[in-house]
């Protein structure tokens, strides 16, 4: 089983996780759904297992980066060719998976990111967060020399080339921005497609106001220092 894997990171999302799993099934039953329960203290893992998902239970909270990379490593070790990442809180609509998968399936991109800000309307986050996202978007676009509008989006599809990189090396806590730059520096082809995101299905966002500031400073520092580094080394098939 598992030449296609859907990675669903989830921290205490018992209310929404079932719907996310069923949504992915409805989109394409060929996907093995791998829920990474990131030290959840509620019934996320039980509910996910009840819906037939593979559940990786982390013994304590690793943060979103560590959780997603657990899924990447699982997918890599199972020889998976195609990976999507769908957040467990229900803000990513599995019905839109077709849009982010298309460029990967067509061989036009290695990493495809669903963006809230290209074209379509729908759910928009708070104003301060939008400003923060714009600063990061501008920085990332300048580094990768390509227009990136939503660098914090976790709604992504990737092929095995990208999986080889991210299974080997993936940023901690809030990974998407740095991962975008890493991918570019390893000469992976990036593409953004418009998607509509929903309000969270239940539970609370793990990002608070103080956190957003810390997040911005930390990520900008990481982006800056990374300019002086050699690119990360991907894994290789045995």
């Amino acid at each position: 089983m598992g030449d296609r894997v859907a990675i669903v990171p989830a921290l205490n999302e018992e209310a929404s996780i079932g719907g996310v799993i069923e949504g992915i099934r409805a989109f394409d039953p060929a996907f093995e759904v791998v829920v990474v329960a990131d030290g959840s203290t509620d019934r996320t893992a039980e509910v996910a297992a009840g819906h037939g998902a593979t559940v990786l239970r982390l013994p304590f909270n690793l943060g979103i980066g560590g959780a997603v990379q657990t899924g990447f490593r699982y997918a890599w070790e199972h020889g998976c060719e195609l990976v999507v990442r769908v957040d467990g809180d229900g803000q990513h609509d599995p019905a839109e998976l077709g849009a982010i998968l298309a460029p990967v399936l067509a061989g036009q991109a290695d990493v495809v990111v669903g963006s809230r800000f290209v074209g379509t309307d729908g759910y928009r986050s708070s104003r301060t967060r939008r400003v923060g996202i714009r600063v990061l978007a501008w920085s990332v676009s300048a580094i990768v020399r390509q227009r990136v509008t939503d660098p914090t989006s976790g709604f992504q599809a990737l092929n095995r080339h990208a999986l080889a990189l991210f299974a080997a090396d993936y940023p901690h806590d809030y990974p998407e921005v740095e991962a975008t730059v890493m991918a570019h520096r390893c000469r992976l082809r990036l593409q953004e497609v418009p998607v509509t995101m929903r309000e969270r299905g239940g539970g609370r966002s793990s990002i608070t106001a103080v956190h957003s500031v810390y997040y911005m400073v930390k990520v900008l520092l990481a982006l800056f220092v990374d300019l002086f580094r050699r690119p990360a080394a991907p894994l290789e098939d045995a």
Partner: protein, 117 residues
């Protein structure tokens, strides 16, 4: 007034600290999240070293009338205390996680052995 040599020495020391921290991050021996406080330390000490008028003003506010550079030491010590406190919380979390990991491993080993029998 702060002696010029003290300002120069302070500035050089701060810049060295910033360079060392930068190189540690670059070579991946220091994670960004644990580097932020060190960088703040370096920047604040650098500012107070270079901005001599500011250091004197702050010293006056604090009632340090005899020797303004004492404020530089005080601020340096304050930041070192902050960094140490931060690390203490980090170590506490790590030791908790380490216990959890060892326990999970022991349980897994036991289950593996039970299955082999």
């Amino acid at each position: 007034m702060t002696p010029l040599r003290v300002s120069i020495a302070g500035a050089i020391a701060s810049i060295l600290l910033l360079l060392v921290v930068f190189e540690l991050i670059r070579s991946r021996r220091l994670k960004e999240r644990y580097a932020l406080l060190w960088l703040a330390t370096g920047v604040v000490l650098l500012v107070l070293s270079v901005w001599r008028g500011g250091l004197n003003t702050i010293a006056r506010w604090l009632g340090v009338t005899g020797y303004p550079p004492a404020v530089l030491f005080a601020v340096g010590i304050l930041f070192v205390i902050l960094v140490l406190l931060h690390y203490s919380t980090v170590i506490s979390r790590l030791s908790d996680e380490n216990v959890t990991l060892a326990q999970r491993l022991a349980l897994l080993e036991e289950e593996l052995r039970a299955r082999r029998r």
